[in-house]
Subunit: 273 residues, 4 copies
């Protein structure tokens, strides 16, 4: 187990060669956005751009208005994805996705078809909890980012049991699921299927607010799209996300920070590191 500090994370960060173009810096897909929950997709999409991804496409449930769409984000609908995943270098599924049958179909399709690493959060985790068989036999690397409640649903443990030994729980299921597991909360754990793990050293309780998880999943995807291996993308994103949150709290105060504020600090955190 390693304590994630600047000197650990810094060497992993993507370099941006002089001849970078928006193709080379990677295309991220964010899948989610049921009725009333489209903001979660917008947050993850913005986070991916602020994390340095070259292109971001947001895929929403069909027919959703998308009032919060950032200028720089492209939008599409779930059914348009099937058979067209090759363009994406990292995929996030879950933010505001809902757990209705069409969301289940979307998730199953991504797990079946995607060769690019998949970051699964929020409702994608709830769908997996309801149908663990989905976790078997996918071609892609997986990064699961549960908070303790989601981890409890995924594992059948109580929240108290998850929290009683966060490190061991994360490591055990990372191995069982053959996935990188990011167990969120104070001192977020990033556990690898190999048994290695990282404990995060950044972040603050002001980040206990809506959309912070969406921001993290977008940032992980941005680092994946820029070429980091999944476990480094996960542990580095956790570190940077917390550092950006610490910067936002330093500027604004310990409560009342928005996920947007933290996302806006990503470039500065990347630079400062």
């Amino acid at each position: 187990t390693v304590w994630a500090t600047p000197s650990v994370v810094r060497p992993w960060l993507p370099l941006r060669p002089a001849d970078s173009h928006k193709g080379s810096t990677g295309h991220v897909l964010i899948c989610g956005g049921s009725a009333g929950m489209t903001g979660a997709v917008a947050i993850a999409a913005l986070a991916a751009l602020r994390g340095g991804a070259g292109l971001v496409t947001a895929a929403l449930r069909p027919g959703m208005p998308f009032a919060e769409k950032p200028l720089e984000v492209m939008a599409t609908e779930w059914p348009a994805l099937s058979g067209r995943l090759e363009a994406y270098r990292a995929i996030v599924a879950g933010p505001g996705m809902g757990t209705a049958p069409d969301g289940r179909e979307l998730l199953a399709g991504l797990l079946r078809e995607s060769g690019a690493p998949l970051v699964l959060d929020a409702d994608a985790l709830n769908l997996l909890a309801a149908e663990p068989a989905l976790l078997r036999g996918h071609p892609a690397s997986l990064i699961l980012t549960p908070h303790p409640g989601e981890m409890a649903r995924l594992t059948g443990l109580s929240v108290a049991a998850v929290q009683a030994d966060r490190l061991e729980t994360a490591r055990r299921y990372a191995a069982e699921w053959n996935a990188v597991v990011v167990l969120k909360g104070a001192r977020t754990i990033t556990a690898l299927p190999t048994g290695e793990s990282y404990i995060n050293s950044t972040g603050n309780p002001g980040m206990a607010t809506a959309g912070m998880g969406d921001a993290l999943s977008g940032l992980i995807a941005a680092l994946l799209a820029q070429g980091l291996v999944p476990w480094r993308a996960a542990a580095a994103a956790v570190f940077l996300h917390g550092l950006a949150g610490d910067n936002a709290a330093g500027r604004l105060g310990p409560a009342g920070i928005l996920a947007s504020d933290v996302i806006g600090e990503f470039p500065v955190a990347l630079k400062a590191l």
Copy 2:
């Protein structure tokens, strides 16, 4: 009667423990948003987030577009609320709600079903003025936030009579309604059913503009959601709202401040206090 000053309010403020998560910092529901009035809900929702609430759901009248929806806010529609209020630790009703029969049904349902404290503002107060019987027999704590015109409608007094003895009027009806009454205006009064009352020491005439009341109701709800008892949530929110307004006026000038500007100052006011 107590003069609300920093030393009075400071000890009430929520602490944010290191293991906070968006569940523990509280889920606020904002109910309102008829045609052309959805911005009021957006303001109250943003205010709740900037006041430190963990999650905010905005409930609008069915079929309303919600162009102003902040990224971090979830949206739903009124009829989806019935029987599903347990998740919320504080509820605001009124901003842009309108006074049509479906709004009346919404309000009656909230008063009947909610166990969480209810902040009633704007059109919720107008509905109560038209049907005072709604105020009887509800299970939840109530916080009413009338401006003098709304107070006059609620009490049957003239505005002049309300203003002639603001303190006494607020105290009398706080007792009669068994509710915390926040009588807005210069030197806002917070009166408790017990007869205690607080006179606010912050705020400025630049705050006499659209949406400032919505911002206050969202901030009260944020403090409720973080565990303050209703009268402290009300009096502290009034103080912080005025302090944030004073900061905005100091930065921008004595006129032309927007409610958004004041909301943006909430975290700094919380920190400075």
Copy 3:
């Protein structure tokens, strides 16, 4: 003819008494917003709020989506206005209104029914040019804010003739129309029906861009709503608008300023004056 300078304008500005409330600071109505032109209404509405108005309602052509609606602005549709104008202390007509028959009906209704001062700009001026009889017999004070092209259409003169003697043209038609005439352009003229006139001393060519006229009309309405007489509201708004534009140009540069930037400077300009 008076050169509008800070010492001339300063004494006119509204004071904001300590007991101001959003009713006392005035309700502004902005009428306009045909397809693709709703942004003009949003700009005028924001300008009215940033100029210190207490409440602003935007009235759009029926069925228009209003993606740009600011949080603090209420929205309605044209046909809902008839017989309901008493609430407004100042009315702007024209921004993005179009010149179709329903716009003509709206304008005719406002001229017939409004007792509050009317600021007429953009398409309202084009409609008046097509049907000058509309200018006769209205109960309200009028402020017309043509640029030279609109002035030419209104008067039947060529643009060159308008510009050849801007002061005399504005004064002549202010008397003929019994209206305050704001002839925009470098050194904007404000002419009164009495023959008095003001020449503005602020502003810069960076303000030659979309929406600056909408911003001016909203600011005039804000000052009217706060109690200024029409000619003072017009001349003071012209001065403040130019001062805000000068501040924006000082901060950003001589080109590429947006109307939004200038509106954001209104409170600071009001304070600095």
Copy 4:
């Protein structure tokens, strides 16, 4: 071949006479915006305004919602353009346009009807690649702004061949197409049909992200609308766009810059030059 430096570009920049008005500073039309791609039009439109254009109209495919529309931008739909292009002093086609038959018709119509210079980017280039005959016989000056992949499709060369001699490739096709060719990438080339060419000295790899090309096309159009000849508009816009990007990277960091950030720096870059 000239190295584009401040001393080369500075003398080309538009002066803004004291009597400028939004008519004299030029009206830009941006054509694009298919489903999910309307943000590209919004970026180009904002870029045109931030580059000093007086008016900007965005033309989208019929029926598209336009949640991202900036306040200062007017909107219309493609079919409304035919026979009505005289008002525009510069036209951009391509951002988010798609390559469906109606987009092809739009492009063909612009090439046939426009007397104003046309900036062709993105999907407009893809349509030209599929139907090179469109490039023949148009009345207007053309500026093509391909990235290496688009240049490869336009020329039938491989990307490697394009990149192997960027300068020569750009010059050859500028002559062949009788168009200004802006071959984007590190050290963007601006090549004239005459054989002259400029190599850009600004920009950084943080600009390898979504919407940067849209921002450039809007800025070229802004300079065209203010009276620059096409090759100067192109080379100067490339220089300013890179300078603005360098300023944004200096402020925010080398990765995670948004196109919006860079556009916001246009006025400062124009001033600093």
